[in-house]
């Protein structure tokens, strides 16, 4: 083989080896960049803030909580650098599911929850004399005293502890009383009477499924029931559940005396508030400089709203809501609990995610 043939062959071999054996990894494809999902920006007392979750140590936390035993769902944007937090808490709706689907957060203008005190009065029917033997426990002092009106400082479900001195000087009865969260759609409640020593109960709303708990014992799942009762005071709870899984409950006391039905206790607002149902309201709070400010403590927010949009609810495999993200915008005043300081949040917009677990 001539020298030039050898040279050409060698060059060809080298070129082939070079082309086929060298590493040839392409530039990796990076995922498309997107904007932060959650953010909040606005003016706090005139100072601008702009927080994007995922940037500059801004984080998001979300989950479920309760406001005075009313289930709530919150989303909280935390600026760990400045130690500031914006919290948006959505009180549970009266109805989660309906024919229109899951509605964990209503779209549109949602009232901001502002605490307002109120009072209720107990009612024992025709047994007016019972009032003389009822002692109400004061939650602050834990003392029982006779009260004509029972005051509540905040909305929510409060535990009412009563003693009936003509029944027992020591035994007390505690029952939940909803203040400001009256069911408007799914109403649990009942009427009761007696036939001799037999209690007859009938639900006010017979649609749905019922559970009757007498002294925390399920005694019936019908829309009404009858039961022989001995003399005494009984706590009866009615749970009503509709076809979409929404439930409501109502608890009160029933007394049998001298072998016959004596009374079913009821309670009424002394001053009927304009709104007796605050399901789905939103509480906006902000922590600044270690102090929490909230719309709960600002009476002037009674007619303030937070506007929601682009509501997306994520469901789990059981079709239960896991979280709901939505855009918001609002302007409000937040006060400390003692109302000694306030923050004015204006032109606040953003996007947040609230959780249900």
């Amino acid at each position: 083989m001539k020298l030039h043939s050898i040279t050409y062959f060698t060059l060809t071999v080298f070129a082939s080896v070079f082309i086929t054996s060298c590493k040839k990894e392409k530039l990796p494809d990076l995922p498309p960049e997107n904007d932060p999902y959650y953010s909040v920006r606005g003016l706090v007392n005139g100072d601008s803030i702009s927080w994007n979750v995922g940037e500059n140590s801004v984080t998001l936390s979300y989950g479920a909580d309760n406001f005075n035993k009313i289930e709530s769902y919150y989303g909280q944007i935390n600026n760990t650098t400045d130690d500031q937090t914006i919290r948006i808490e959505v009180l549970r709706p009266e109805i989660f599911a309906s024919t229109s689907g899951i509605s964990s957060v209503e779209q549109g203008q949602i009232p901001l929850l502002t605490n307002k005190s109120g009072a209720i009065k107990l009612n024992f029917g025709i047994s007016y004399g019972q009032f003389n033997y009822v002692l109400v426990k004061d939650d602050e002092s834990n003392n029982f005293a006779q009260m004509n009106e029972i005051d509540f400082k905040e909305y929510g479900v409060h535990d009412l502890t009563l003693k009936f001195t003509d029944y027992s000087p020591s035994e007390s009865f505690t029952l939940p009383v909803k203040f400001g969260f009256e069911n408007q759609v799914l109403k649990a409640g009942f009427t009761s009477n007696g036939s001799g020593d037999t209690l007859n109960v009938l639900a006010e709303n017979t649609d749905g499924s019922h559970q009757w708990y007498l002294n925390n014992v399920l005694v019936s799942e019908e829309s009404g029931f009858s039961k022989h009762l001995e003399d005494g005071i009984y706590k009866l709870k009615h749970v009503l559940t509709d076809a979409f899984g929404n439930s409501a409950d109502y608890t009160t006391l029933i007394r049998f005396k001298e072998g016959h039905f004596y009374w079913q206790m009821k309670y009424y607002y002394i001053d009927q508030p304009a709104c007796t149902s605050h399901y789905g309201n939103i509480i906006v709070s902000m922590k600044k400089d270690g102090v929490w400010y909230s719309t709960l403590h600002a009476a002037q927010n009674e007619n303030s709203f937070l506007t929601t949009s682009n509501i997306v609810t994520e469901l789990n495999n059981n079709l239960k809501p896991v979280s709901t993200r939505f855009n918001f915008d609002f302007g409000t005043v937040l006060y400390t609990a003692d109302q000694t300081d306030s923050l004015v949040l204006s032109s606040f917009t953003g996007k947040i995610n609230v959780g249900f677990n």
Partner: protein, 560 residues
């Protein structure tokens, strides 16, 4: 005198033994009778008494030689070698060669070499292939012609002179052999009385040859025939034509030479029968065969047998079998016309033709670093092939052609980095990134080249070409999966992003030839386009390719 006789006896014995002829007393008696020359004796005496003369040097040796001459004559007369037709056949087979050689010698002596146009054309092509034929000028033609004439003439004369010398030598040898054959003829004649062989038939053949040769006065040529004839016969292992095939004893060529040295220069001299041998009484005395050699003893034993054979062979009359050689006698006074009788040759000036050249080139140097506002040198290398075409006439100082090559560009810290934040619905963020550092780039280049020849060694070059990116070597690190770690790939050839794929480049160069095929060159080039992809590299600089290189160029081929 006794010493001389003794020597002569020895010599004769040797000769007799070599001739495988038995020495007989009669031989000496004949010789003695011949030597008994009263007139010669008287002459000697008169000379000795009247004059004083200086004896020649080596008189004894001269006398011995003279005795040798006569001894040889006697021996040759007694030796008869039959002629075989094979000898003639062999001669006829070689006759053409013999005549050709004669013709060549005559032509060599008569003809003179002259310039032929084909010599120039061949020289012209050779010059162009050697790269010496740059520019046609009249001086070159004249000088080349002179050179060619000189070279060709010297070649021609050397060549034919050698032939002539050889032929002359052969001719001289032939003369000698011719003389030898003549003396042999004389010896045969002289010894014819001692044998019963019919040497006259062989003698007649030899005489016929001599008659033909005598008409030619060129001793060398005339004797050449004889010499060849004799020489061929001498070399013929089957035996010379003048001796029997089984006769191992022969008058050797050397001895013949010795005889020639005594002044026998032509067959005529031999035919004259001059006899310088004196005082030889017996052929045996002039025989110089070594009588003590075993071969001689053996030969002597065979001689009696051979002698009888010689007598028998001599009785054969081959004259009817002999045919005269068809030789053409050339009169000695004839004039040979040695003029050129072929067609007339017209000499035309060779037509100059354009040439094409193919080269290999390689260069190395430095260039700018991309992405930097200031000039920072980085390494450059390259190589490829080049083709140029040189014409004549007005554009004879220009070369037009093109190059195809590969350029390597070394860059450091030329790269980019990209980071991507991907936010998820859970409020978290995944960060993905890659970092790319481009190290080496390889471009192929195609350029058109115009060269201007300053002189026969130097030229300047202009080029315009296009660069196309083929390979890029880089180092890369990246993370593009949330649950994967960092991946690093070094010396990677798979990424070409960040570098422009096409560029237009202008070049200016200088070249000087340093040998038949090698030349040095210095080049500079400038790219018109931005080599960096600003959208990818995010580089605000306009990165022109600028470089300066030096290199070598090797001429692969020149074709007219």
């Amino acid at each position: 005198m006794k010493m001389g006789d003794q020597n002569m006896d020895d010599l004769f014995r040797k000769a007799a033994d070599s001739q495988h002829a038995n020495y007989r007393t009669d031989f000496w008696k004949d010789m003695e009778s011949q030597l008994a020359d009263d007139a010669l004796d008287t002459a000697f005496r008169n000379a000795a008494s009247g004059n004083s003369f200086a004896l020649p040097e080596n008189l004894s040796e001269s006398l011995n030689d003279a005795f040798m001459d006569d001894a040889f004559k006697t021996a040759s007369d007694n030796t008869h070698i039959p002629y075989f037709s094979a000898y003639w056949t062999e001669f006829a087979a070689n006759r053409s060669i013999i005549e050709e050689n004669i013709s060549f010698v005559e032509a060599a002596n008569a003809l003179q070499a002259d310039y032929h146009p084909t010599y120039w054309e061949a020289a012209d092509v050779a010059l162009q292939n050697e790269g010496l034929h740059y520019e046609y000028r009249t001086e070159y033609w004249s000088e080349a012609r002179r050179m060619l004439d000189r070279a060709d003439r010297s070649k021609f004369f050397i060549k034919w002179s050698a032939v002539a010398v050889i032929l002359l030598l052969l001719s001289f040898g032939g003369i000698f052999m011719n003389n030898k054959s003549g003396r042999m003829d004389t010896v045969l004649q002289d010894n014819s009385a001692h044998t019963n062989t019919q040497g006259s038939s062989v003698l007649a053949l030899a005489e016929s040859l001599h008659e033909n040769n005598n008409s030619i006065n060129h001793a060398g040529i005339s004797n050449h025939e004889t010499v060849d004839f004799t020489t061929e016969s001498t070399d013929n292992k089957s035996g010379t034509e003048l001796r029997p095939s089984d006769n191992h004893s022969n008058i050797s060529y050397a001895h013949t030479t010795d005889l020639n040295s005594q002044g026998l220069s032509s067959p005529n001299d031999v035919n004259n029968g001059s006899n310088e041998v004196s005082d030889i009484t017996s052929p045996r005395d002039v025989n110089f065969v070594d009588s003590d050699s075993p071969e001689l003893i053996e030969e002597q034993d065979n001689y009696s047998t051979l002698a009888s054979q010689v007598e028998t062979l001599a009785s054969i009359d081959n004259r009817d079998n002999l045919k005269k050689l068809p030789l053409t006698a050339i009169p000695s006074n004839s004039n040979i016309d040695l003029s050129y009788s072929g067609p007339e040759i017209e000499v035309h000036r060779a037509v100059s033709r354009p040439t094409s050249q193919f080269y290999l080139f390689a260069n190395s140097g430095f260039g700018n670093k991309y992405g930097q506002p200031n000039f920072i040198p980085t390494w450059r290398t390259g190589g490829g092939i080049e083709y140029t075409h040189t014409s004549f006439g007005r554009l004879r100082n220009f070369e037009f052609g093109g190059t195809l090559g590969i350029n390597h560009i070394r860059q450091n810290d030329f790269g980019t980095e990209r980071r991507v934040s991907v936010y998820n619905t859970k409020g978290g963020v995944d960060k993905f990134w890659y970092k790319l550092q481009l190290k080496d780039m390889i471009y192929t280049n195609v350029s058109a080249v115009v060269g201007y020849r300053i002189d026969h060694l130097q030229k300047i070059r202009f080029s315009v070409g296009a660069d196309y990116l083929v390979f890029v070597q880089s180092n890369m690190s990246y993370q593009n999966q949330p649950d994967m770690g960092i991946t690093t790939v070094n010396n990677n050839w798979g990424v070409k992003e960040g570098v422009s794929k096409l560029d237009l480049r202008l070049g200016l160069g200088y070249e000087i030839q340093v040998g038949k095929r090698w030349s040095f060159q210095a080049n500079g080039s400038f790219g018109l386009f931005d080599r960096s992809d600003d959208d990818f590299i995010i580089d605000k600089n306009f990165d022109h390719e600028m470089n300066a290189t030096v290199g070598v160029k090797y001429t692969l081929l020149r074709k007219p």
